[in-house]
């Protein structure tokens, strides 16, 4: 019986399961990440001494910067682990379609970052005495769309960075400039929702379009990157 | 006005610096080529 090339869905399922299993097994990594996330929130709280009104205006920016740091660390971790185990080479020679691998890695990272978000947000709410004046459902939407923007690009640039010197620095160095439009939109949406002033509709749509465009570009070009000499 | 001359001056300083960098690049490559040809 000749082995058939695995289906995209199959790849997705297996890879995500593998990543999550590995994360779970390396509890050390998760714990240190979480502690780091807590530290970031605390440091930011110390850096700014805010009134409740001020908090609502600024928290949007602070949360996303904090999450950005935490996400960058998380993303560096996942690719570093792949490299350690020479998984990247295995990917290259496997018959599995590379775009499926990209999606799978991104989804795995996404789940991880969303968990980080879920843990950091209550901390921020507590430390900044935040109370959202706008609909919380929209906050959830921003969280998800924003996280995906960072993770999709971060995963892709992580793959690029594998071929470079100083790869831990390279990934955020590439990620940050490209993510600026998404960051501006995320912060704008979050602030609008928290302060309840106006509708966050436009930045949410913008984020969705950004996500679709950049995920597609990454999807399309991942194979090229994987096989780059 | 000072700012005006500073702006025009800075523009040319920047361009000239880059051209100098390029010339140095050429010089270095010529050295390398001489080196290669010697062997």
């Amino acid at each position: 019986m000749t082995p058939t090339a695995p289906s995209t869905l199959g790849i997705l399922r297996v890879t995500i399961a593998k990543d999550l299993r590995l994360e779970w097994r390396s509890k050390d990594a998760i714990n240190s990440m979480l502690f780091f996330a807590l530290l970031v929130v605390v440091i930011f709280s110390f850096s700014f001494d805010l009134t409740a009104e001020e908090s609502r205006r600024i928290a949007g920016g602070l949360i996303w910067v904090a999450l950005l740091f935490a996400a960058v660390m998380a993303l560096n971790q996942t690719w570093a682990r792949e490299l350690r185990n020479q998984v990247l080479d295995a990917y290259r020679v496997s018959p599995a379609p590379p775009d499926a691998l990209f999606l799978a890695k991104t989804m795995g990272n996404f789940i991880f970052v969303v968990i980080l978000e879920a843990l950091m947000t209550p901390l921020f709410v507590v430390f900044y005495s935040l109370r959202s004046l706008g609909p919380v459902s929209q906050l959830v939407a921003v969280s998800l769309l924003g996280a995906w923007a960072l993770v999709a690009n971060g995963t892709f640039f992580g793959a690029i960075s594998m071929r470079t010197r100083s790869r831990e620095v390279m990934m955020p160095l590439l990620l940050l400039p490209i993510s600026i439009p998404a960051l501006v939109a995320m912060v704008s949406a979050t602030t609008t929702i928290l302060t309840g002033e106006g509708s966050a509709h436009l930045p949410l749509v913008f984020l969705a379009v950004y996500d679709i465009v950049f995920t597609s570009v990454g999807f399309f070009l991942f194979e090229t990157v994987l096989h780059a000499e | 006005m000072n700012y005006l001359y500073a702006a025009y001056g800075a523009t040319w300083v920047i361009h000239i610096v880059y051209l100098v960098i390029l010339t140095r690049g050429y010089a270095k490559l010529r050295e390398e080529i001489k080196d290669l040809e010697k062997h």
Partner: protein, 231 residues
């Protein structure tokens, strides 16, 4: 140096001198801002030229990914570097204009902010090249991401950063620009675009040379062990 190249260089020098004359002398003094406004004749053409450079980089990157010709990669890096140089000029002349006119060095208005992000994106491109051993495929891929991003940058800053004033640029922009001013603008744009093309060409030749030297080294490395063995 080839004589045709020298002739072109002299022509471009003449164009730039003409542009300088137009900007500093011929163009009428602006009413509200005074002579400082003349910075505009360097600031704006540099911005447009930078954009053209990045557009060339985008095209060359796509061409490389499709045909894998080293010449395309050489053009891509050349256009990116020259683009960064011109963007730097924009970022330096901008504040030098803003300070005397609006009292602050930096204004987070849409144009200047977008230019800053553009600079960041293409500097990161150059850093990737440096740290990946000039890997042409990775660079080309990043160039595509960068170019796609530019559109989003402009939209995001325009729509979502509304706290900052949008200073009126160039005396008569809203009301229709004075023809003499437009002439100075055009003269400098043509001059700088031609200058950019020339510098890109110089950089391109340098890169092609570097590519060939690198190849020569590689061939040398392959053949050398054999020589030692045969001794």
């Amino acid at each position: 140096m080839k004589s045709s190249f020298v002739i072109f260089a002299l022509l471009i020098f003449a164009l730039l001198s003409f542009g300088l004359y137009e900007g500093l002398v011929a163009a009428p003094t602006e009413q509200t801002m005074g002579d400082v406004q003349r910075i505009f004749y360097y600031h704006m053409p540099s911005a447009i030229t930078a954009f053209l450079c990045f557009f060339v980089n985008f095209g060359a990157s796509i061409a490389y990914l499709m045909k894998r010709r080293p010449a395309a990669d050489a053009l891509a890096v050349s256009a990116a570097e020259v683009g960064v140089v011109f963007t730097t000029v924009v970022l330096v002349t901008g504040p030098l204009w803003a300070r005397p006119v609006w009292g602050i060095w930096w204004t987070w208005d849409a144009r200047l902010t977008s230019t800053l992000v553009l600079w960041l994106i293409y500097v990161s491109y150059l850093i990737l090249r440096r740290f990946s051993g000039n890997n042409p495929v990775l660079s080309a891929v990043l160039a595509i991401f960068g170019a796609a991003d530019v559109i989003f940058v402009y939209m995001a800053i325009r729509w979502f950063r509304t706290q900052h004033p949008q200073p009126v640029i160039g005396g008569g922009e809203g009301s229709g620009i004075d023809p003499h001013m437009f002439q100075a603008l055009l003269a400098n744009f043509v001059a700088f675009a031609a200058f950019a093309a020339m510098v890109i060409f110089i950089r391109y030749r340098l890169e092609r040379l570097r590519q060939q030297v690198e190849e020569a080294h590689a061939m040398r490395a392959i053949s050398e062990p054999a020589e030692r063995v045969s001794r």
